[in-house]
Structures are given as structure tokens and as C-alpha cells.
């Protein structure tokens, strides 16, 4: 230290004036959400466009429902995704990237059991160029043999790396635990399935499944919405198919059950992943569930977080939140803790779940959660990218900007009694199933002693 004398911690924490009062909140400022222009093109593609001009950019989100029953579907879909921008009849991989970069654009392609997603952004005046690239790859991507071969090898290696990550091990385990062998669990293909995929299979899947009808394109930015939709129609008119993009079937209802212990040798931490049924945004109780979840573990000032981190020091963080799945929603209650406190952390987690039902949230807890829900929604919609992602997510679930506009009022209307009822219905420890990944030799005896544990 560069000072040899300094005040003590006690001296630092006091001033002559003493403690001061928290200032009141000032005047509320609102900025209306933009109107959304919407049109379904003759090829069946639904287009949403919003004018949000703070910076000269445009955000792009395209969702193509992309479900498949074949167990090998995820491997083919993953290779389709990684070679979609790798070549067309007239451009190679480098030329495609050059065309995007020239207008400051980037596109990312990802696929999961529900949908293929293309997300990105570019300078707003380059939107026609960006759309031209999309049109080219949708109608003329060749998925060249050499690219499929190389991406196949890279993908196998990436899967090996991903499956070494504890969070991936835990995610795959909890998906199987709650949804069995439903296709929703196939988030990452098996290496051997990837190795068997041919370029012909990729091209066949592209022709059959990468289609406009049932897909939704969302554009937000410094754009004239009418002109932008006309540009989309002009650019993507040649992208046609008689087929409709395929939605994933709803997974089976989650069955409450024991926590399955998953052994990971040498692990110094354990991943606790609990799950219970929840409510979708269509349900009139959704706003109530959102506030109840916040009080439990959905933000820093929650019961579970304050207990597990700030009082006990068991974890860096806890997460509790709603995940939407076809036909409904599930609650995820997740934390990572050191091996030597795993049993104690499981005990505290079950305690806080039970306490939420037996000692329902107070007025102060619900008011804080309400302010946070309203304020964080405002903040999340304050950027082009945030607004684009929110609109795209709502549209995928059949909801629109009016749902967003009305949501603060729904949050304001939630009563204490409604929170107590939802806590009882959705947060009881007996409603959950889950997994616990860790070194079973270290954590096994302690967690088994608490009961409700199955596994090795």
C-alpha cells in the first residue's frame, strides 16, 4: 500500500453527519413503443418491421420452425446450420462474408429442436444487400461437399469440447429427466450421428424444411417500415415452397420426482438443476408467476439468492426463471455450488421453496419485484437489439407488441393473494424433479441422507 497510515474499517464506515435518507423517486419518463408494421408475403413468410432510429442500424431476426422426428435430424440440422453461409451457386464462403461485411453486417445461424434461427444486424442503408445474401443462401445454398466434410469434423470436435463443460452435462441431464426421449431433449447431436451425415442429406433437409411459410422475419432499426417490407418482398420473392415450416410437438408434462445424481469424477463443484411445471405468457396468471418467481430466486434481491450467496456464501449465483416450451412452460431453478456445501445448498434450496408456499411473499417483497419487473422490461426494450429479440420471441408464441404494451398494467394489477396462490401451486418442493451433477464419491453420502435422491 502506498499509505503507511490509514483509517480503520470502523472509522471509514462513519461520518459526522451520520446516516442519510434514501431520496424519493423522481418523475416517470415514458417513451412509447413504436408501431409494428406487419405483412404476410405471398410465399407465406410473415414480416414484422419497427422504426427505432437511435443509431443507423437494422436488427434482423428470422425464426424458421425446424422440428424433426428422426433421431439423426439434429445432426443433419446442425450441419445445415453450419454450412448455410458456406457457398451458393454464385458465391463461396469468403464472398458471402465479404458481401455482409461491406455493409457492416453479421449473421449468425443456430439451430435447436424447435427452430433454425438467423440473427444479426447491419448498417441500415445496407439492408437490401443483407437481404440479397439471405435470398441467395435460401434459394441457392449448395452446402458444398468439401464444406460439409470439414464442418463435420469441426462439429465432432466442438461437441467433444461442449460435452466436457459441466453446464452442458447438467443441461442434457435435466432435459432427459423431465422430458424423457422427446425430440426437445436433442439439443446437441451425438458425435457418431454427425459423422454419418452426408452432404446430400443436408441438401435434402434444406429443400424440405428451410421454407418461408410458418417462418417469421423481424426487422427493427433506422428503417422506413413500409419500404423495408417491400425490400423483403422483392428480395425473397423467389424463396418458395408448398411446405409449411414444422413446429415441434409439445413435450410430455413434467412429472415430479426425485433428484437424479449424475457422477462427474473430480468435479470441485456441483450443478443443481431443479424443474417444475410453469405457465406460458398466454395464461392470465403469468404476470403473477413472474412476480412470485422474482421473489423466490429470479433476481439478486430474492430470498434464495440472499440466503445462498449473501448469507451462506455457498454460491456465486442462483438462477430461477421460466423457460417456454411448445404448449407451455417450465420453471428452472439452477445453481452451482462447491462440493463440500452441496448437501447444505440442496437443503437450503428445498427450504426456500417450501418457505415460499408456507410463508408467502410480503407486501414489500411483491412491491420490489413489481418495480423490478416493470423497470427491467423498460430497460430491455431500450435498444434496437433488445426490442427485436422481444418482438421475435413474442411473435413465435402468437403474441404481439400489444402484449408488451399491456404487460406493465398486468404486473401492477397482481395482488398479494394471487402471489400466495401461485406460490402454493407452482413452488412446492413436491412439484419439482431435477438432477445434481457432481463427484458422487464426495457429495453422495451427504445428499442421500437428505432423501429424495436417486442415482449411482
Amino acid at each position: 500500500m502506498t499509505v503507511t497510515t490509514h483509517r480503520s474499517a470502523a472509522e471509514i464506515s462513519r461520518t459526522e453527519a451520520g446516516a442519510r435518507a434514501l431520496p424519493p423517486l423522481g418523475a416517470t419518463r415514458t417513451v412509447p413503443l413504436p408501431d409494428i408494421e406487419e405483412r404476410t408475403l405471398p410465399n407465406g413468410l410473415r414480416v414484422l418491421a419497427a422504426h427505432r432510429p437511435r443509431v443507423p442500424m437494422v436488427e434482423v431476426r428470422l425464426r424458421i420452425p425446424f422440428a424433426g422426428d428422426d433421431p439423426a435430424h439434429p445432426a443433419t440440422a446442425e450441419l445445415l446450420s453450419s454450412t448455410l453461409l458456406a457457398g451458393t451457386a454464385t458465391r463461396d464462403r469468403v464472398e458471402i462474408d465479404d458481401a455482409l461485411a461491406a455493409v457492416g453486417a453479421e449473421l449468425g445461424v443456430s439451430v435447436n429442436p424447435e427452430r433454425l434461427h438467423i440473427g444479426g444486424s447491419g448498417l441500415a442503408d445496407g439492408l437490401p444487400d443483407l437481404l440479397a445474401v439471405l435470398a441467395d443462401v435460401f434459394t441457392a445454398a449448395t452446402h458444398p461437399d468439401v464444406e460439409v466434410t470439414r464442418e463435420r469434423e469441426r462439429l465432432v470436435e466442438r461437441i467433444i469440447v461442449a460435452r466436457a463443460q459441466p453446464r452442458t452435462i447438467a443441461r442434457e441431464a435435466v432435459q432427459r429427466r423431465r422430458f424423457g426421449d422427446h425430440p426437445i431433449t436433442r439439443e446437441m447431436p451425438l458425435g457418431e450421428d454427425v459423422a454419418a451425415v452426408t452432404a446430400e442429406a443436408v441438401r435434402a433437409l434444406h429443400a424440405a424444411a428451410l421454407v418461408p411459410r410458418g417462418s417469421i422475419l423481424t426487422l427493427v432499426g433506422d428503417i422506413d417500415t413500409t419500404a423495408a417490407i417491400a425490400q423483403v418482398e422483392n428480395a425473397l420473392a423467389g424463396w418458395t415452397s408448398d411446405a409449411t415450416a414444422r413446429e415441434l410437438s409439445p413435450p410430455p408434462p413434467l412429472t415430479p420426482g426425485d433428484v437424479a445424481l449424475v457422477h462427474r469424477k473430480g468435479s470441485v463443484q456441483s450443478q443443481l438443476r431443479l424443474s417444475a411445471p410453469a405457465l406460458s405468457r398466454h395464461d392470465p396468471r403469468y404476470a403473477t408467476l413472474q412476480l412470485t418467481n422474482l421473489v423466490f430466486g429470479g433476481y439478486f434481491s430474492s430470498r434464495w439468492m440472499e440466503n445462498m450467496r449473501e448469507e451462506k456464501g455457498y454460491t456465486y449465483s442462483v438462477h430461477s426463471g421460466v423457460e417456454f416450451v411448445p404448449g407451455g412452460a417450465v420453471l428452472n431453478v439452477d445453481t452451482d455450488v462447491a462440493s463440500d456445501v452441496t448437501a447444505a445448498a440442496l437443503l437450503e434450496t428445498r427450504y426456500e421453496l417450501g418457505r415460499l408456499t408456507a410463508v408467502p411473499p410480503t407486501v414489500a417483497e411483491v412491491e420490489a419485484a413489481r418495480s423490478y419487473a416493470v423497470g427491467s422490461l423498460l430497460i430491455s426494450l431500450d435498444s434496437q437489439g433488445g426490442l427485436a429479440s422481444s418482438l421475435a420471441s413474442l411473435a413465435a408464441n402468437g403474441l404481439d407488441v400489444d402484449w408488451l404494451r399491456a404487460h406493465p398494467a398486468r404486473l401492477e394489477a397482481v395482488t398479494l393473494e394471487e402471489v400466495a396462490a401461485v406460490a402454493l401451486a407452482f413452488f412446492a418442493p413436491s412439484a419439482f424433479t431435477g438432477v445434481l451433477v457432481g463427484d458422487a464419491d464426495v457429495i453422495g453420502p451427504g445428499v442421500r441422507a437428505l432423501g429424495g435422491i436417486t442415482g449411482p
Partner: protein
């Protein structure tokens, strides 16, 4: 996009103030940047700057433990803090109605944080969990930001692990915390940035109201962290019991952004020409042509561009199959650097990378949080928030010759080579 307005003042106690109004947003942000990072923590106390950042959330004279979090979130806002090489930042972003509350919360802990043994012990446990999560319990933990500096640098400030060793975190005492606060958290060593929907005069009045009575204290002399650029290659193998595939990282030194910004930006764009996008040199050569690596990236600045004073690190990192000899990867990287050092990128190639940077900078500007933190960090580090505003033009002015010179500088200097070798049961599968 309207021009960014920057209003500055310095309070009598030395606190620097930057106010950035934006009439288009319903949100406001308050950030405090303190001129101390993990490079300044004392020997024997690795990780202390970051641990201290955690302690600053544990209460202050007017705020019990947990009250800070509850007041921010209960006002509809979000908060965070982060510890970098040369600075530590604290911020909240709130609906505009929360402006004065945000200033109050930041001022209270800068004036009189409540440092207690109980909170210290609790946050040592929390930080250890953070390190287990991000480093110890995952493959490639700390790759390359913790593992590369000790190879490239010789002095403690530049070389040590900013997350800290568990044994040293456990030894941290309350008196260490008091000394650290009194030394580095003087108002003259800090800066408050307020951005978003606000009235400049009213905001200035509120800043004075809440921060003005923090007594001035001596401001520590900022040490130089300069050390010679290594003359030769330094190579080190690090086993990773959890990694299924080998990985490697190269570390190089960069120009001082404070005295040679154009040279520094030449390195920033060199990183893009090498690594950003499918058309980038190393993507084409290492991934697609030679098929040596699974993934490759190149970037300027250990924790991002323009995020530290001199010295800072230029990094190239890659993951590769076990069957590939890492020397073949190094040879291919060197050949690509030699080509750029001889000829430089084409004008079109560079223009495309500049267009992508321009777009990223627009996106940063669109997010109030990113804009506020970017302006605040550049103001604190270089005394010129304008750098953040001017960056699109400065990057557009970088020529192929600047990038050629940057490549030449990398080719002609010593460097660090970090090789990660799978060392566990899991690695044998690969």
C-alpha cells in the same frame, strides 16, 4: 444520430464528473470508475482488487447489507461492477425516475463503505465460488486471460492472476481492505459518469449534493507498469485435466494507446483482418485451407480494445485436434503475419473490417449501459471520453500501411506461446 454531448466538471474534492444527456431514452445510468485495477493490488494479495469490488456492495453508512441491491432493483433498475487491469467500475441503470437514488447509492459507498469481518469472510467464499465456476471446474478455465500474462510479462503487476490464489484470498484482512479503500478510493482517484434521460444542470446539482461532502484525500501516485518487450519467444506448456482437446494462445505486446493511438488502432484492425469473419486471414488459412484448428480468434487488449493503459496484450488463440502439431499452427500463423507485414491488407479488405467496426460501435452506442461504461472508461484511462466518440472516424482513417506496420511489429518482437495439453481421463477420448 445526434452528436454525443459531453459535459464535464471536477468537484472541489477532486471527483471528476462526466454528464452525457440523451433525450431519446426513458432510462438513466450512473457509473463510478475508480482508478485502481488488479495490476495495483499488493504482492501476496492477488485477487484483492476484485474481492474489494465485492465488498463495496456489502453496505455503507446509510445502507445495511443487502440494501444496495434491494434499492436498485426495487427502483426498477439493474446493477453490476467489474474489475479490470487498471480500473474498477460500479454502475446502475434505472428508469429515469431513479436518477437521484442512483447517485445517492454510489455516493454513500464511496464516502463510507461498511467494511466488516463477517462480510469479508462471506465474500471470500462467494469469490471462491466465482473462481470455481469460471476457472477451476471447467475445461480451458482462465484461457488465455489468466494463463498468458505470466509468460509474456516479468513483473508482478502485469504477470499475476487477477482472480487471485485461494490461499491469498483467505489471508485478506479487514485492515487490508481499510488500507486499500483509503489509498485508492479517494474522490480524486475516481470519476462519476451519468448518462441517459437527464437535465444537465439538475444532474450536476444532484452530483454535488450527494458526492460533494466526501472529504478530499491524497490521491495515490499512479505507478508505471512499463516493462521491456521480450526479445525472444517464451514458451510454456500448461496441463488441463478437464480439456478434451489441445489449445494454444500467442501473446504479443501492443503500442501505448495513450501516446500512439493510431499504432494501437492498427493492431485493433490487424486483429480483425486476422480473425473476424469467415474471410479473415487466419480463418481461411488455419480453419479452411490447412484444416489445422477447430476455432481461431485474434484480438487487441487482454480484456478488450482500449480497456487498459500500457502495457497491454495482443492475443491469437486457437483450439486444435490432438493429431495436429502445435508447431504447424505456429508456422502457419507466422506465414500469415509475414504476408501482412510484407504487403498489408487490400484497401477493400480493410474497408470491410472498418464497416463491421462501425456497426459494432453503433450497437454499443445504442445500449445506454455500454455507452456509459465505454465513455467512462476512456475518460478515466486516457482523460478523453471523446476517444469513444471519435473511434469510428479514427478507425476509418487507419490505412493498410498501419496494419502492415502492426503485423511487422508482431513479427519482429518476442512473444508468449501458451500450449494447453489435455491431461485428464476425459482428454484421452480425444
Amino acid at each position: 444520430m445526434p452528436a454525443v454531448e459531453l459535459h464535464r466538471t471536477t468537484l472541489p474534492n477532486g471527483l471528476r464528473v462526466l454528464i452525457v444527456p440523451d433525450p431519446t431514452t426513458p432510462v438513466v445510468g450512473v457509473a463510478v470508475h475508480v482508478d485502481v485495477g488488479f495490476r495495483s493490488e499488493p504482492e501476496g494479495r492477488t485477487g484483492f482488487a476484485h474481492l474489494f469490488e465485492h465488498l463495496m456492495f456489502q453496505g455503507s453508512e446509510s445502507l445495511e447489507k443487502l440494501a444496495h441491491f434491494r434499492h436498485v432493483q426495487g427502483s426498477g433498475g439493474m446493477f453490476n461492477g467489474s474489475t479490470h487491469q487498471d480500473y474498477t467500475d460500479y454502475f446502475e441503470v434505472l428508469p429515469a425516475a431513479g436518477l437521484e437514488r442512483g447517485l445517492f447509492l454510489e455516493a454513500d459507498r464511496l464516502r463510507a463503505p461498511k467494511l466488516t469481518v463477517q462480510n469479508l469472510r462471506n465474500q471470500v467464499d462467494v469469490v471462491k465460488e466465482e473462481i470455481r465456476l469460471n476457472v477451476l471446474n471447467r475445461p480451458y478455465g482462465g484461457f488465455p486471460w489468466i494463463l498468458l500474462p505470466p509468460i509474456l510479462y516479468d513483473t508482478f503487476p502485469n504477470a499475476h492472476n487477477g482472480y487471485g490464489d485461494f490461499s491469498e484470498l483467505e489471508q485478506a484482512s479487514l485492515d487490508d481492505a481499510a488500507a486499500f479503500f483509503d489509498t485508492y478510493y479517494a474522490p480524486g482517484n475516481a470519476q462519476v459518469t451519468v448518462a441517459g434521460y437527464l437535465d444537465v444542470d439538475e444532474t450536476l446539482r444532484l452530483v454535488e449534493k450527494h458526492f460533494g461532502d466526501i472529504p478530499a484525500r491524497p490521491t495515490p501516485q499512479r505507478p508505471s507498469f512499463a516493462e521491456p518487450v521480450p526479445g525472444a519467444q517464451r514458451r510454456q506448456v500448461v496441463p488441463d485435466a478437464q480439456a478434451p482437446l489441445p489449445a494454444l494462445a500467442l501473446g504479443y505486446r501492443m503500442p501505448d494507446p495513450g501516446t500512439d493511438l493510431d499504432g494501437y488502432l492498427g493492431h485493433v484492425l490487424l486483429g480483425s483482418v486476422l480473425g473476424d469473419g469467415e474471410a479473415a486471414r487466419l480463418q481461411r488459412r488455419l480453419v479452411h485451407t490447412d484444416e489445422l484448428v477447430t476455432d481461431v480468434s485474434a484480438s487487441a487488449g487482454l480484456m478488450g480494445p482500449l480497456d487498459a493503459r500500457d502495457p497491454d496484450t495482443f492475443t491469437i488463440s486457437a483450439r486444435h485436434p490432438a493429431a495436429v502439431d502445435p508447431d504447424d499452427v505456429l508456422t502457419a500463423v507466422d506465414e500469415e503475419l509475414d504476408k501482412l507485414a510484407a504487403v498489408g491488407p487490400s484497401a477493400d479488405e480493410l474497408a470491410r473490417q472498418v464497416a463491421r467496426w462501425s456497426a459494432w460501435l453503433h450497437q454499443e452506442n445504442d445500449s445506454l449501459t455500454d455507452r456509459m461504461l465505454g465513455l467512462g472508461a476512456r475518460e478515466l484511462l486516457y482523460g478523453r471520453a471523446e476517444i469513444a466518440v471519435e473511434l469510428p472516424d479514427r478507425l476509418a482513417a487507419v490505412t493498410p500501411d498501419h496494419v502492415r506496420a502492426a503485423a511487422g511489429a508482431l513479427c519482429s518482437s518476442g512473444r508468449a506461446v501458451l500450449l494447453i495439453e489435455p491431461a485428464g481421463d476425459e482428454g484421452e477420448q480425444a
